[in-house]
């Protein structure tokens, strides 16, 4: 098979259309085990490093809350990221078509098309989108941008005036698939936050595959998503 044909197949596979498995669709999903999570914030830092995110921008967060009243108080910690909803409100409201949902379920923003109107930021009920404004804002304002930050702006150029968000590390997924790797199993094709989790609280895989790690975890441990009543059908599930 020629290189060109191979590339076409790889491109189809990256978008969820697997020719080899007879056109089976993929929906990338993440399951977060709240019992395993030790609130170390490593996922948040890994995400920042992977995408060279500037100060104040988080694609991964840890929500820390409490329920109950003294002396019966319980601490709740929820690692949070874009839910890559099946019924993504942000995609529907986008007036330019910059926000799209790929066939593999990943919701992305095309910076070349985004006009920065922020309707998606307002519309996302999970508040997982940020307007990226100042590309010269560094972590050490007095010292200017560090060498690492300058390098980051070149390696992962975010466009000022556009909306940015978690993309499930789609560059890693796409590249991994073209190399024949399996996201969620092979580290090179798996999101950075999943790789970095030292207690393996994060699981990544295909929600449409009943035999995948994520599907089995959701079934066995009654996985749930945040606010299913909003009808957004998130792809991020929690188990506890």
């Amino acid at each position: 098979m020629g290189e060109g044909i191979k590339n076409i197949f790889s491109s189809f596979k990256a978008r969820g259309f697997d020719k080899v498995t007879g056109g089976k669709m993929t929906r990338w999903s993440m399951v977060i085990d709240l019992k395993q999570c030790v609130n170390c914030y490593a996922c948040m830092i890994a995400c920042k490093q992977e995408h060279f995110l500037p100060p104040g921008v988080y694609w991964n967060r840890l929500l820390v809350g409490e329920i109950g009243e003294y002396p019966r108080v319980r601490k709740l910690v929820y690692p949070l990221l874009c839910n890559h909803c099946k019924e993504a409100v942000c995609v529907n409201v986008c007036p330019t078509g910059a926000s799209t949902r790929r066939e593999d379920g990943i919701v992305t923003v095309d910076p070349d098309t985004c006009s920065g109107c922020q309707y998606c930021v307002i519309a996302c009920p999970y508040q997982q989108r940020t307007l990226y404004v100042d590309k010269n804002k560094g972590y050490f304002p007095e010292a200017g941008l560090t060498e690492l930050e300058v390098m980051g702006r070149k390696l992962y150029p975010l466009q000022p005036g556009t909306v940015i968000k978690c993309n499930f590390c789609m560059e890693r997924i796409d590249k991994g698939i073209t190399q024949g790797l399996k996201p969620g199993i092979d580290r090179e094709a798996t999101p950075a936050c999943v790789n970095t989790c030292m207690v393996k609280a994060r699981h990544f895989g295909d929600l449409d595959d009943p035999d995948s790690d994520v599907s089995m975890l959701i079934r066995a441990r009654k996985g749930y998503s945040l606010h299913p009543e909003w009808g957004t059908e998130p792809s991020v599930y929690y188990i506890d």
Binding site: N92, C94, G97
Partner: protein, 289 residues
């Protein structure tokens, strides 16, 4: 808000009401005011009213939007998704109103009474109504903010737009004597009562439909939003215009300075109402209860 409170408790939206977001508030209100004024001016066939309304939309509303845009050169792309996005629909409606309005104004000035004038009056009227209603739908579509997610919001914006339009036409009509002031006052009175009923209904339904919407109503009753609601909406937007309109209705005419006061009050009231609704828009906490 402290970082650890983000989306753990009720989180207010800030993008459309703080810093550059103030421009969105102003553009939304300019659309409501311009659309309402245009419709009323069309009804009373007041050319000055139509021209001022056209300017409000073409210069103020569009100007605020362009000033708010992070990347103004890409604004044209925003007309590409009218099938799903209310912003797209709104931009298309605004552009069509500016174009149809310019043609209609030319017809009304140079060729009044022709078929062309009638056709473009109908088209511009539809667009003016669209501009008023889209501001409400942009907000009511956001189900993440339960206080906005109400069918009453577009209706309230329409009422406020028409009220402001009536006040504008009344102020202009006193000078040109081409408007039936009695009819304007009577309609204003009815709409003011409708506005009171709708506001009460809107707040009342919010308090029992959803905890986050209820919290938004609580926010409206304390601190800075309470001042804006009390002085801006209730006093300026309703009580003063209602008192002046009622006395004018009973006496049969309205002195020019009072008509200007009503116009100023309606504008302040409309701006305050839009601001209040934007300001107390809260997101529900994400952590399950």
């Amino acid at each position: 808000m402290k970082p650890y409170e983000w989306m753990v408790t009720y989180t207010p939206q800030t993008e459309w009401v703080e810093r550059r977001g103030i421009l969105i508030w102003l553009s939304l209100y300019a659309g409501i005011l311009g659309g309402g004024s245009y419709l009323v001016s069309l009804y009373f066939n007041n050319l000055w009213g139509m021209f001022i309304s056209w300017l409000i939309i073409a210069v103020l509303k569009s100007g605020f939007h362009v000033a708010h845009a992070e990347r103004p050169l890409k604004l044209w792309r925003m007309i590409l998704r009218p099938q799903t996005s209310w912003i797209s629909r709104g931009l298309l409606i605004t552009i069509l109103l500016i174009v149809f309005g310019a043609i209609q104004l030319a017809f009304s000035y140079w060729l009044p009474g022709t078929a062309g004038e009638i056709v473009f009056k109908v088209l511009t009227g539809i667009m003016a109504f669209g501009i008023m209603i889209y501001a409400g739908f942009i907000m009511s579509y956001v189900n993440g903010i339960p206080f906005w997610n109400s069918a009453l919001l577009p209706a309230l914006f329409i009422v406020w737009g028409i009220l402001s339009g009536l006040a504008l036409v009344m102020a202009i009509g006193l000078d040109t004597a081409r408007v039936d002031i009695g009819a304007v006052i009577a309609v204003s009175l009815v709409l003011l009562i409708v506005a009171i009923v709708l506001i009460v209904l809107y707040l009342w339904t919010a308090t029992y439909e959803e905890p986050t919407a209820k919290q938004s109503v609580r926010e409206l009753t304390r601190g800075y939003p309470a001042v804006v609601l009390g002085i801006g909406v209730v006093l300026c937007g309703i009580v003063v215009p209602l008192a002046i309109s009622l006395s004018s209705y009973l006496s049969g005419n309205i002195p020019a300075p009072l008509a200007i006061v009503v116009l100023a009050c309606e504008i302040i009231g409309g701006m305050a109402f839009t601001y209040s609704v934007l300001k107390v828009g809260l997101y529900s906490p994400l952590i399950p209860a």
